[in-house]
């Protein structure tokens, strides 16, 4: 059974139908990329999983339980989250940022977990623990954000354009180290990107969205063979299909 299950999800913003009866499942251990252009509804869909978006229709279940039956604060603490700009708390050190969720959960060793998490994303705690976000490069900040999302060992990780703000070289490194980290941690991940190449590099499955609908979903390896219509167009645009 799927770890995350979205059924006939509907979300309206005024007259705009941001999600149009979307159905999707994510199996345990998978890494799903939601791909699409701006306004296609991919971020809205991602945020239904930890109830940052409340649905107007349909259901989302996580670990077999309907999310609207769970306290949203508890739900969010059990799911890692990374956003494009990192969203680090500017007046907290890297260690305080990394240890946020363990501290919120009342773990007795948030600093220890924060250190482990920094180490896991390749930042030496001895160097970085006491630094403030403004003292880091963009790539380092994004690593701290990933460390913060992973520090409490969640089984699910949500990411919204996590590498979007990085320059090309930093992005490549970040993608590779993230893919390795995800595999070793065994975390189930859903991430949003507008970059099909990135999706293919990092994800095990890809869902292509357009105007609030999933127009195609496939294993990452089969996408070139399976793509038709809009998905094929996207592939061509991003230079993946030859």
């Amino acid at each position: 059974m799927a770890l995350i299950r979205i059924e006939r999800a509907v979300k309206r913003y005024g007259d705009v139908l941001a999600l149009d009866h979307v159905t999707l499942g994510v199996d345990r251990g998978a890494c799903l990329a939601l791909v699409g252009e701006s306004g296609s509804g991919k971020t809205t869909l991602l945020r239904t999983i930890n109830r940052l978006t409340e649905l107007d229709g349909g259901h989302v279940t996580v670990r077999g339980r309907a999310v609207d039956a769970v306290d949203p604060v508890r739900l969010r603490r059990s799911i890692g989250y990374v956003q494009q700009d990192g969203g680090l708390i500017p007046h907290w050190t890297c260690l305080d940022n990394a240890g946020l969720v363990p501290a919120l959960l009342g773990h007795n060793d948030p600093a220890e977990r924060g250190r482990d998490a920094l180490h896991a994303v390749g930042l030496d705690p001895a160097v970085f623990a006491g630094r403030y976000p403004r003292e880091l490069s963009g790539g380092q900040r994004q690593r701290v954000a990933i460390a913060r999302a992973m520090a409490a060992d969640p089984d699910i990780l949500l990411m919204d354009e996590p590498f979007g703000a990085l320059d090309a070289i930093t992005r490549n490194e970040a993608q590779q180290s993230f893919a390795a980290l995800r595999e070793s941690a065994g975390v189930t991940a859903v991430f949003v990107t507008h970059d099909l190449r990135e999706a293919l590099r990092v994800a095990t499955r890809v869902a292509v969205m357009r105007a609030g609908e999933i127009v195609m979903e496939s294993a990452a390896g089969d996408i070139v063979r399976n793509a038709t219509g809009y998905a094929a167009e996207l592939l061509e645009k991003s230079g993946v299909a030859q």
Binding site: V73, R76, G80, L88, I89, P90, L104, Y132
Partner: protein, 533 residues
């Protein structure tokens, strides 16, 4: 943030204000001192002081509240019972308070105001003191001679080439500039509002050509002026008399009788001499009043301890102001210290209440952004009300003294604190807030651990702005009897004494600079360390 906490943010300052109100009006009615007030010019100070000394010589305790900004303010305070008695002029009562233009003889006007005031408000005019102080429209003698002007009718022809300078009170009232220009068809090239303290100076230097003088203030002869005759009898008679509040009249008949015995005793020569003692010789108001009472046989000799206004002697403008100031401030150091303390109390009470109200309001608005703009605009509207007007609005509700001043200063402080709190919270690292929320921080945690620490310097800047505005605006509170550093400023303006004005203005300015500096330090101290470079 819970509803309970939000309510506490409103309740606390209200409690603070009520506490102040209670202390302001707490004394028992029978033992309460008699409150004697005046308007902000030398003769009004003089007569009020004379009333006070007469009452004291009969064994009554007196609370002096001189220098109310205008007729409207002091009359309102009288109606409320906050003031028991003040010197008024029958013509002012007729034109400025009753809004009537029909004049007549002195006796007719006195009868008219006596009947009307008693019937409408239960307020009584005691019999006139015995002299009239009318407006005298005056020019430099040389200028009047060169234009061959002797009457106001003549002035109407020459006015398009002349500039007028008039006291604010005169410009605003029915028996003042508007009525006068309408009655004679006078149109000046320009008119300016000039305080008593600078009016004669401006005329002497030629900055203006025509002013409103008082017939009893001695300036007409001192500055060699020509008074233009009121040939169409526009001005009503202005007989000076004590105006007495209802409760005072009913409850303290003996004290009222003591004042009534002054009737007809002060002639125009006696009052002119007393005015000159104050304005030309620089005598303290208390001493001039005491001499006046001796002159008219109401006191035996000049008391050395004559309770003068604010305990300060008057300086005249001829002396070098800057040289005289340090010595004067040293002599008055006890009084100044008291005024500074009082000033700080006004500022701190109002600022504290404003922080308690505006900080939670600014935080709450972040959750209701749709109405935030409207609320901030409303607070901004409060700030556009001129200080003295806002203070005047407070009198019908809160009376005179500290309470209305604190409420007015409180209202002034709201905008900078609400606006900065709201802006600071909204603009505090929105990406960190959204990430924190996505990771399971509660709204309270987002507020206390991210937003407030980041907004703290911005909020502190708002408090700093409010504090500096308050230190300045609190000087106006003296106009409604609240005390503070405005006292010497108001008295100095009324008595044309620049040294006295500066003895209040300089400490107020230093206080403002000091408060600004101190809160600027606080602003950098509350900035989270991670943000400092």
């Amino acid at each position: 943030m819970t509803g309970r906490r939000r309510r506490a943010g409103v309740v606390l300052p209200v409690c603070a204000i009520w506490a102040l109100l209670a202390t302001a009006g707490g004394a028992g009615a029978q033992t309460a001192p008699i409150v004697v007030a005046s308007k902000p010019f030398a003769e009004s100070y003089l007569l009020a002081e004379a009333f006070a000394q007469v009452l004291e010589s009969h064994g009554y305790a007196v609370d002096r509240r001189p220098g109310f900004a205008s007729t409207e303010l002091v009359f309102q305070a009288l109606l409320r019972g906050d003031v028991d008695v003040y010197p008024e002029y029958t013509g002012t009562g007729l034109a400025a308070i009753l809004g009537e233009t029909a004049a007549g003889s002195s006796a007719e006007v006195f009868r008219r105001v006596s009947d009307a005031f008693l019937e409408r408000w239960g307020v009584r005019w005691l019999p006139p003191l015995g002299f009239e102080n009318t407006y005298a429209i005056a020019m430099r003698r040389a200028a009047a001679d060169s234009l061959n002007l002797r009457t106001l009718t003549g002035l109407a022809e020459a006015a398009p080439g002349l500039a007028g300078g008039f006291s604010p009170d005169f410009m605003g009232r029915a028996d003042g500039l508007d009525g006068l220009t309408a009655a004679y068809g006078i149109e000046f090239r320009e008119t300016r509002s000039l305080l008593q303290a600078v009016k004669y100076q401006a005329l002497a230097e030629g900055a203006v050509d025509v002013i409103d003088a008082y017939s009893t203030d001695g300036a007409v002869s001192r500055y060699d002026l020509t008074v233009l005759a009121d040939d169409r009898r526009f001005f009503p008679p202005y007989d000076a008399a004590p105006l007495v509040g209802r409760a005072f009249y009913d409850d303290r008949p003996e004290a009222v009788l003591a004042l009534a015995r002054m009737a007809g005793r002060i002639d125009v020569e006696a009052v002119r001499r007393a005015n000159e003692r104050i304005e030309v010789d620089g005598a303290p108001v208390g001493e001039a009043a005491a001499r006046l009472l001796v002159d008219i046989g109401l006191a035996e000799g000049v008391r050395e301890d004559a309770g003068d206004v604010g305990g300060v002697p008057v300086h005249n403008a001829d002396r070098s102001v800057l040289l005289a100031l340090p010595a004067y401030m040293w002599t008055e150091r006890t009084e100044l210290a008291r005024q500074i303390g009082r000033h700080l109390l006004l500022v701190l009470a109002s600022l504290g209440a404003a922080i308690l109200a505006a900080l939670p309001a600014g935080v709450a608005l972040e959750r209701r952004r749709s109405i935030a703009e409207g609320v901030i605009r409303a607070a901004g509207l409060l700030q556009t009300i001129p200080g003295i007007a806002l203070l005047a609005f407070m009198i019908p509700v809160f009376g005179i003294g500290a309470a209305p001043a604190v409420v007015a200063l409180f209202l002034y402080s709201l905008l900078p604190i609400i606006r900065n709190t709201y802006t600071g919270i909204v603009e505090a690292a929105p990406d960190a807030v959204s990430a924190g929320r996505a990771l399971g921080m509660t709204e309270v945690q987002l507020l206390t651990r991210i937003r407030m620490p980041l907004a703290a310097p911005v909020i502190m800047a708002g408090i700093r702005t409010a504090a500096v505005i308050n230190v300045g605006t609190a000087t106006l509170a003296a106009f409604i009897g609240a005390g503070g550093l405005g006292d010497p400023i108001v008295a100095g303006l009324a008595l044309s004494d620049p040294v006295m004005i500066l003895s209040g203005a300089v400490p107020a300015a230093i206080l403002a600079i000091f408060v600004d500096w101190g809160l600027a330090r606080a602003e950098s101290l509350v900035a989270p360390s991670g943000l400092r470079s």
